[in-house]
Symmetry: C2
Subunit: 119 residues, 2 copies
Amino acid sequence: MVQHQTHHLDAVFHALADPTRRHMLRRLAEGEQSVGELAAPFQMSFAGASKHVRTLENAGLVRRTVRGRTHICRLEPAPLEAADEWLRFYERFWGERLDALERELKKPETTTPSGGCDD
Amino acid sequence: MVQHQTHHLDAVFHALADPTRRHMLRRLAEGEQSVGELAAPFQMSFAGASKHVRTLENAGLVRRTVRGRTHICRLEPAPLEAADEWLRFYERFWGERLDALERELKKPETTTPSGGCDD
DNA sequence: CAGTTGCTAAACTAATTGGTTGAATATCTA
DNA sequence: TAGATATTCAACCAATTAGTTTAGCAACTG
């Protein structure tokens, strides 16, 4: 099983907390993109966009392959899955009836059903 | 239907990008907590923790009711659902076979199946 | 070879962040 | 009323961030 450490989530959520970077991920969902292609839609300087790609890469959301002089990026879904997993802990709070979940949660000392040390 | 605007996600993901705040949310999943109770487990100053609660509140993740001199916080799941919804767009990238999804994604000009203007 | 292209690196700025402390406010309690 | 409790507010600091510009480095192209 993949270890979802807390500082991973820090980086992942932080990377997602920016519209430019989220937009880049959406583009990458359509297929591989060079840094230049990723940067193109934005007003900002090329170097600026390149830094966004870098933070995505540092968060593990993007993997880069250098082919010639162009850097080809592709989506790395694992950290997104980790983030989703974290979020889904709260799934019962939406959708479900509230009184039902209150009963569920009042069961004493069932600290974390998923048994993790994550926060 | 709830409108999930981009700046909402900015604030939500940013709020989640901090272990202290994620920890607070976990505590709130067990039930209502006062700001003091939320602050207690942490080394930092009370005012510091109070600021974290505030950012959670600003992101819409926490709702506060003032009862007497204590502020009672409870979890507000809607933004978590919005974040999860955003993440689940990428669900096919994990779990699913990769070649299958490549075929799916190569369907030309199906920009965003969920039909939104979100990023 | 010279020039252009794709990209990173470095240095800088302005704004934001996470944290502190000390004071202010309001509520409960003796 | 006086004091303790629960909390925010304001001012401040150090570190980080998002952005810029300029320069540099490979790798293609003629």
